[in-house]
Amino acid sequence: MRSLIYAELLKIRTTRMLAVTIGVVLVIAGALPVAYGAAAGSGDQPPLAPESLADMVTAPAWLAGGAVLIIGLLASAGEYRHRTIYTTRLAEPRPLRVLAAKLAAITVIGLAVGVAVDIVAAGAGGAVLAHHGLAIDPFSHGVPRLALVIPLVLVLHGILGVAIGAVLRSTTAAVGATLIWAFVVEGIIPALTNNPDLVNWLPRGALREVLSTQPTPGQLAPLAAAALLLGYAAALVATSAVLDRRREL
């Protein structure tokens, strides 16, 4: 199994996708706290304060999550686009082992990107605070919890990406379906059901609570939201595993 995981990591590493995606994410992770600092105090933005570090650390998480989701999605659906699934299956004919290796590989990548984003965003945020003469306290205001949660959230995104790609077997369909779900379906469902609170039970709502620095009254607690996200990921992985066993190439 270890060979299979190494092979999946090698696949991701040997195209430019990973380097380019991580490069863009890290540049933005460094730029967002600077932009946050520049905008603070203007309009309805609160002024900078030591506790702003938590918001600055959180700022790149959504983008980084999306990037890891795309990496996961391309790692699985891309095999069908480029037909490399044939050489993969000839070398390892058991589809569940291939799926498990992809999930393990994206876990490694999600954790690594998450830690890198933490470091860059916290570093840039700290520099912004220092520039404004404010105290830097990385061990309070929920920053340690966020630093731990962000890599895990990125792993969840990657798992979702691998599972969506494995279910749809098409990069275009997988990217399209993800965007439609995130920006259309999650917006429409609460309106259609006349139940605005429903959004809390959808992936984006749960993600927002996991990444919030302070629990919002009437919404899911961060742990419950994390469990819900895990449930979504587990359901998608189970679906892709069942379909992988049934479908032919």
Binding site: S3, L4, Y6, A7, L10, K11, T14, T15, R16, M17, G78, H82, R83, T84, I85, Y86, T87, T88, R89, L90, A91, E92, P93, R94, E248, L249
Partner: protein, 248 residues
């Protein structure tokens, strides 16, 4: 290694791609697999390699289905699609990825690249390879695990005359080392110079499986192309695929 196909049948909706196909390519010999377009050659090979599930029957390698083989690339190497490589990955990395899954060391990757004449192009992206170079890379992938059995689906596609000549020599060399080589091709004149045995199928059904020498003797030295056209005309199978008058 013994390949055995027993009662293999595959249907796609109302179309029967392969029907009750039973044969066994002899170990240590080159067996040619011949049939018209849509006769079921690729489907048969894909069922042997576990890429397509048969509706009935079995395809085994030394008594085991492909999916039951531990590290299958060490037992059977296959070339089914020369475009099954990521265009942005280099030829060497494409093979390293496959080799890593099968626990094949990197020096073996360099060895098979040299064997197929791609050493100089190994660092280039596959997207920039010609069709012939991709065929060679796919062949290198099939040889990666130094397998005792080699399955090649249309290996001469895209190769220039030098490439075809080289491929013939390689296939003969692999067989002379005791390997079982099972190869499909449309290039019947070329194939007849390479194979020991021939399996001809039409409309998914077995037409004949016999040694080339015996077949040629029985048909008074007719070419494989003439034999193929005659046998498939007799079954009526080729009439939907070829204008026989035009070909003969």
């Amino acid at each position: 290694m013994l390949i055995e196909l027993n009662g293999l049948t595959k249907r796609y909706g109302p179309v029967t791609a392969v029907e009750d196909l039973t044969f066994s390519p002899a170990p240590g010999r080159v067996t040619g697999f011949v049939g018209a377009n849509g006769a079921g050659k690729s489907t048969t090979m894909r069922m042997l390699l576990g890429l397509t599930r048969p509706d009935s029957g079995t395809a085994t390698i030394d008594g085991k289905a492909y999916a039951e083989l531990q590290n299958p690339l060490w037992s059977i190497g296959a070339m089914v699609d020369s475009n099954a490589f990521h265009p942005k990955r280099s030829g060497r990395n494409a093979l390293r990825v496959i080799g890593r899954i099968a626990d094949v060391p990197d020096h073996r990757v360099d060895h098979v690249l040299a064997l197929v004449g791609l050493t100089d192009a190994a660092g280039r992206r596959v997207g920039g390879y010609s069709m012939g170079m991709r065929q060679r890379l796919a062949l290198a992938a099939a040889l990666l695990g130094d397998p005792g059995t080699i399955v090649l689906d249309e290996p001469a596609n895209g190769l220039d005359p030098h490439g075809v000549h080289w491929l013939r020599g390689l296939i003969r060399k692999l067989a002379s080392e005791g390997r079982t080589v099972f190869v499909s091709s449309h290039l019947l004149a070329e194939l007849s110079q390479t194979i020991d045995d021939v399996v001809i199928i039409a409309d998914g059904r077995l037409v004949t499986h016999e040694p080339m020498a015996g077949l040629l003797e029985r048909t008074n030295g007719a070419s494989l192309e003439e034999i193929f056209l005659d046998l498939t005309r007799t079954t009526g199978a080729a009439s939907s695929h070829y204008d026989l008058e035009e070909l003969t």
